[in-house]
Symmetry: C2
Subunit: 209 residues, 2 copies
DNA sequence: GCCACCATACCGACTAGACGGTATGTTGTC
DNA sequence: GACAACATACCGTCTAGTCGGTATGGTGGC
């Protein structure tokens, strides 16, 4: 057995974990749930992972790898103008809202809610993963800010967090309402905010009327 | 024992549930966790609640009652200007970020993430509770819109959802980072967005330059 | 080219403990 | 004495994790 094929079971388990955890939450997900979905046995599971918590850690790493390449190859990076790239990101987030809820919601956001107080290492892994994605996004924000709003008092990073928070919160409402409609509407608000931030404004009263 | 005192145990259980579920999540919370925190026994628990799921439903109702009166008596309602009330709400949400994470995060947001796919009635209860709070908020938004941005194409309700989504998402990051700092920064962005929405704008290019 | 040796991958029955829920009291109040 | 509000002991199930075992494929000695 080649080493690539050798790890197929492990990959299947990780893929299964992403789906099941996003659907049922971490605590309610049983090892056998994941094994069943992956089509492997418990023996195989515990061969690849020390424990359920170890799987969670593996799942966050797997998630990071998947999402990083997914976003890296997305089309919104093409424009030369950084603001266009940023708005392209927001639009892209709207465009990928297909399939069922577990298909487009965020593993890390789900996971951290359940584990922040009880599983320090999982919490830290979620924090790292989300922060890394935001750091990537922040590069475009920084560039857009330099060009369109160099004097603004908000930081590029804080705006990156705001965008992600709006997304994460939108997912909560999508779950509550069983529909991505609210995500789309919130992305429209986000887009409007971004445009207002990057549209050079005369200060306060310096307008007609 | 009076009927008020008679329900003291039940209230203690509900209060305990709010805390423990927000800290550990619903699935990871055991009935005994809640009993211990409430200082009552399991017998008492199952006297008042048919099941753990029944407690969750009770907890959402309890949460709604608590938060409704909490926000109803908050000071931000006083201004006559609806925009001031709305900005007052945002500021108020920043002012109440005290204590530990489970003290200021939202039960319903936590709960719905874990239960949306597996517990239809709990999901529906969370949806109802969050929507009710938003409906309340939407009244001020509607009034502010009528006065300051009557022609704007966004709906008052969608803005209510956006505000709540930003809050819920901020709580996720607060948990990841173990600090409410990011919530405060996001509220600052939110405030900036609201001000921009309600500041009458000349259309597009009708500016200097 | 064969075989002993070994590591990795995988299997599935089993266990110990945790947990939701129940059955059976006990106590106090009207 | 009836009923609500507890309390305690207990039960059955579910589940993370274990453990002895098998299959497969690679490696080195001869």
């Amino acid at each position: 057995m080649t080493s690539a094929a050798a790890h197929e079971s492990k990959t299947r388990l990780l893929d299964a974990a992403l789906q099941v955890i996003r659907a049922k939450g971490y605590a309610a997900t049983t090892v056998e749930d994941i094994c069943q979905r992956a089509g492997v046995t418990k023996g195989s599971f515990f061969h690849h992972f020390k424990s359920k918590d170890d799987l969670a850690l593996g799942a966050t790493a797997h998630w990071e790898a998947m999402t990083e390449s997914f976003f890296a190859s997305a089309p919104y990076h093409q424009p030369i103008d950084p603001l266009e790239r940023l708005l392209g990101y927001v639009d892209f987030r709207g465009a990928i809202l297909t399939g069922d809820l577990p298909d487009y919601t965020c593993l890390l956001g789900t996971l951290v809610q359940e584990t922040y107080a009880t599983h320090p290492d999982i919490r830290a892994a979620c924090d790292r993963g989300m922060s890394r994605h935001i750091a990537e996004l922040t590069r475009d924000i920084e560039a857009a800010k330099k060009r369109y709003a160099p004097k603004a008092r908000w930081s590029a990073e804080s705006l990156g967090y705001f965008i992600q928070a709006a997304l994460q919160g939108s997912f909560i409402f999508a779950k509550a309402k069983q529909s991505p409609a609210v995500v789309r509407e919130n992305l429209a608000h986000l887009r409007r905010y971004l445009k207002s931030l990057f549209t050079p404004q005369d200060t306060a009263a310096a307008r007609s009327h």
